[in-house]
Symmetry: C2
Subunit: 314 residues, 2 copies
Amino acid sequence: MHPTNKRPENEDLSTAWTPALKKLVARCRDQVDEALGTLLRDPNRYTHDVYRAMRYSLTSGGKRLRPVLCLLTCRLLAGRSAPALPVACALEYVHTYSLIHDDLPALDNDDFRRGKPTCHKKFGEATAILAGDALLTEAFALLSRRDLLRRLEPDRRLRIITEISRAAGLAGMIGGQEADLQAEGKQVSLDYVNALHGRKTGALIAAALVCGGLVGGGDPRTLKTLRAVGNRIGLAFQIQDDLLNVEGQSRLTGKATGTDALRQKATYPALIGLEESRRTARRLVQEAVALLKPFGPRGRPLGAMSYYIIARNR
Amino acid sequence: MHPTNKRPENEDLSTAWTPALKKLVARCRDQVDEALGTLLRDPNRYTHDVYRAMRYSLTSGGKRLRPVLCLLTCRLLAGRSAPALPVACALEYVHTYSLIHDDLPALDNDDFRRGKPTCHKKFGEATAILAGDALLTEAFALLSRRDLLRRLEPDRRLRIITEISRAAGLAGMIGGQEADLQAEGKQVSLDYVNALHGRKTGALIAAALVCGGLVGGGDPRTLKTLRAVGNRIGLAFQIQDDLLNVEGQSRLTGKATGTDALRQKATYPALIGLEESRRTARRLVQEAVALLKPFGPRGRPLGAMSYYIIARNR
């Protein structure tokens, strides 16, 4: 099921962040928030803090970027986003676990996240480590649960688990996080920064699109396109994150500004400057939008999301 | 495929730790060691320490109890253990991750494990946290990999992922670890200690048997029996661990002795005394062996392993 372009080439609707699209994305976010609330249950009469810490971090105002991208991709192919909801939630579990662990004193040692105390600041280190572990573990419990994703062939479910575990693993997020820590205070190449962010941020964002595509019934060619789109959106997102760390407003981002520079982090602005970083992000989004062209108007929400990603101020 | 007893009732072969059985278990261990070496690859040209830390902890002389139990269970039902090897390795990944994180300063703060420096002592906290995360993640990558477990129906693979993620999650290991931390220095009931250890240790050991049974083609009744056996072996194992912490020899266990008492941990010896703890462990193993009776002589290796678990001195 590979889509073909049905609109004239010169009509660039992908960039339009219309009220209808805004509403669609808001609805996706609400769906995710609701599902996250329902799916995470405390199964343990002796567990208190870890469960509370998981909920705290899951519900402290994330943008839900990965789940929304997953839902929009499923909708792009299948016309509906709801079937991908459990996968969208699993992606948010994995993302939230990575934030909790990255904020730990031994890693980035951050006290604030989204304007609230980080998980370990609120619940202590032991609980934060366990809450991260639990979110990662429960993501896979979610993806394999018999009562969810019932209409999806087991083979596709296994591929989703492969996608998410690889994106989160040594070749993905964890490898990226290590590369990030190793680069602190050192002079590194643009190649290094690209590989770092491709892993640390890009991999899970690309997985969000590929997994949405797997639920939506995408064929191999479509999945390949979605991965290419995801890689570009992922890198553009990270560049914007780096830019916000330099010139963003703490009040809006909920994080301290200038911390990357203080820690001599390997970032795009540090390596190629603000202007070139902005240009690179814009070029990546344009490439993503171009890759979405064959989907025609149905690709608009994803295209608009891509532009939103580099226009956001938080 | 539920087995029936073909040997006379009074012939209790289950307890015999014969040279042939010893050899079988040693062979299983070798298979696991070899597969662990092959399956864990460094996919990342920028990753160094995390990968080395994973290998360090995976190869620092564990007993391979969970993988061996998984292989023996598969062999019990299917006559061969090899098909369960990837699952056995995934279980060892999950077990090893839990040890790395439990040893961290914020949790048990242990400096030695199996007679060697713990992961964070050797590689630092950041790397140890990431190595644990990576082992947990790669376990699920392993279980979903297309080139492994190819003869197993996708549905059974998904059930294995459910088993392991639940055993490792909030209702299992993580819930148990939290209950353990919360109980330190407090007076808790025997019920509490049972629930704690059932989760912290019992769940993954039971999962090892159930997953071996799933690979081996076990029907629901057989899987239920295997879970009951696993729960008993798991609890007996934990009691023996507690006993070794009181009266074991550091030289053999590779861990400091008496640390549970110092930390006022919720243990069986602390609650019911050494004698009653030994009796309970023995009773649990007898129950496990009785549950294995219907399998006849094929159940001997698992029965012997159960006795080994409470006879071990390390």
